[in-house]
Amino acid sequence: MALKADILLPGSAQGEVLTLQRPISFWGGVDPKTGTIIDARHPDRGTNIAGKILALPGMIGSSSAAAIMLELVHAGRAPAALLMPEPDAILLLGVIVAREMGWAVPPAFALPAEAQKGLHGQHIKIAADGTIGD
């Protein structure tokens, strides 16, 4: 595995990768108290994102995603890290604000959706420079 992701928000992480099958709207899609996916139309409904390295193929929906992300961090139910094809200002804003509040936050990296798919279910480490290894 010689993958290297671009750093969006710095940090390192390890854990099991959960690659979502479809884009998700965090507002109305993820329960902010538990981290469980609650969107009735989403194929990963019922899966929990807390502590996972969450790979997002894309984002849709409300500008309240930042509020849900901040709430997940505050509740201790945030993912261990975020992977996304390109920076999403709204979701990552929740992480930026949580960092300003002095709470422990997940790092975020850019990784294309194709590369995310191959990582699903694996236990990986992401170094601070974005290098992905097992």
């Binding site: 309240s64 901040l70 961090v73 505050h74 509040m101």
Partner: protein
């Protein structure tokens, strides 16, 4: 691309204007860096969507800013909160949530934001001028501000809106830049009947179609010259921003950056032209209703918040008739004050209208019981009611909604669509 901050901006981030302003500047600068902006630009005003309670963390953030001395530096109106502070309607929030929601609303007021508490700030006296840069949140307010007023804003979400207001700066990217405001798709509606194009009920439906068709792309509609009024444009934009990610639309001969189709495309050849047919808009109309159940339990109007003109229309169509089913009429306190002064509020409440101020029926628990059938003329209510309230939706025109409320039976005039 690297972000370049001025000396003054850097000093603010380092705390020269206080800890609250420093935190706000770091949030704005971090976002700018993330989105590839090279600089920050001054803004003329803000509309803040961040005071709607989603959980305790948002309240703690706002209270941290207040404690650290942050104040907004530009005119900042507030979008809806989770509570009707005017006391027109009741919310069924548990005590802890009610307390935290109220603390949150008070914290935003303490930072100097205007207690407008409306999603139609542009009809409550907040109208930035053509070409000015602003930081607005709430998808319908964003799309109206960009499209109808011609002021420039991205879709500012929770936290970034207030941070920009405090530092009076925003990241220079997206819809702040002229080249990114160009229409790439032309939608020609001139083949639809003029009666339909002149009707109120057409605009939320066309907006729903437009949002689904455009996604995040910018389109220009041709064939509506001289037809829509401001409330029609409000309904169109809100529907398009609910069904798609529309932040800016153009309507040739109507909106300020589109005197012509060519002006809207900035002289470029469009990537796509779509001829809108009766079947297309009929499909959008059908999509807005989620049930065949004709036993309507309640009617909701006012997403976006009703204008004074719309409340006057309600009064005229009702014409003193008592309601068999309640109409929840969501509006801002700017309208409540006007209709209180002339007795309209008391008159309509006596007939069975329930006014909802400062908030609305899809963002906080107001509708009774555990669901039922909700009739609405709003594309936005139709989109969000099933997920947020548990109510199924019957969609109809403003007049259909009023007649259904009076008779208690679903009444719908579909003659325009045939």
């Amino acid at each position: 691309m690297t972000l370049h901050l001025t000396d003054a901006e850097r000093a603010m981030a380092n705390g020269h204007s206080g800890a609250g302003a420093a935190m706000a500047m770091r949030i704005v600068a971090d976002t700018a860096q993330l989105m590839g902006a090279e600089r920050l630009i001054p803004i003329a005003s803000a509309h803040i969507d961040g005071a709607l309670y989603h959980g305790d963390s948002g309240t703690l953030f706002a209270e941290r800013l207040v404690a650290d001395g942050a104040k907004v530096a530009v005119r900042s109106t507030l979008n809806v909160g989770a509570l009707d502070l005017m006391g027109c309607s009741k919310q069924n929030l548990p005590p802890h949530e009610r307390d935290m929601a109220k603390r949150m609303m008070k914290a935003y007021e303490a930072m100097g934001c205007e207690p407008s508490w409306t999603c139609s700030p542009y009809q409550a006296g907040h109208r930035p001028v053509l070409g000015s840069d602003v930081a607005w949140g709430e998808s319908n307010a964003v799309v109206f501000c960009n499209s109808v007023l011609g002021a420039r804003t991205n879709r500012y979400g929770d936290f970034l809106d207030i941070a920009c207001a405090i530092v009076s700066r925003a990241p220079d990217y997206g819809l702040h830049r002229t080249e990114n405001r160009r229409a790439t798709v032309v939608a020609d509606v001139s083949g639809l009947s003029e009666a339909l194009r002149r009707s109120d009920v057409f605009y939320p439906v066309l907006g729903t179609w437009f949002g689904l068709e455009m996604g995040q792309a910018i389109g220009v509609v041709d064939g509506l010259q001289g037809l829509p009024n401001e409330d029609n444009l409000k309904a169109f934009g809100a529907a398009s921003a609910s069904s798609g990610g529309v932040g800016l639309f153009h309507i040739a001969g109507v909106t300020p950056e589109a005197p012509t189709v060519e002006a809207a495309t900035q002289g470029h050849e469009p990537e796509r032209r779509v001829t809108v047919t009766g079947e297309m808009v009929l499909a959008a109309l059908k999509r807005l209703s989620t049930t065949d159940d004709e036993s309507v339990d309640a009617i909701a109007i006012g997403s976006p918040h009703l204008s004074l003109d719309e409340v006057r229309s309600l009064d005229n169509i009702l014409n003193g008739r008592m309601l068999a089913k309640p109409i929840y009429a969501c509006t801002g306190r700017h309208v409540i004050r006007a209709i209180e002064a002339d007795g309209t509020r008391a008159k309509l409440e006596h007939l069975g209208v329930i006014f909802v101020a400062d908030t609305c029926v899809v963002v906080t628990p107001i509708l009774p019981g555990n669901g039922g059938v909700l009739m609405t003329n709003s594309g936005k209510f139709a989109h969000y009611a099933p997920g947020n309230t548990g109510y199924a939706v019957q969609y109809g025109s403003f007049a259909d909604c009023v007649e259904t409320a009076v008779t208690g039976r679903l009444t719908r005039d579909l003659s325009l669509w045939r």
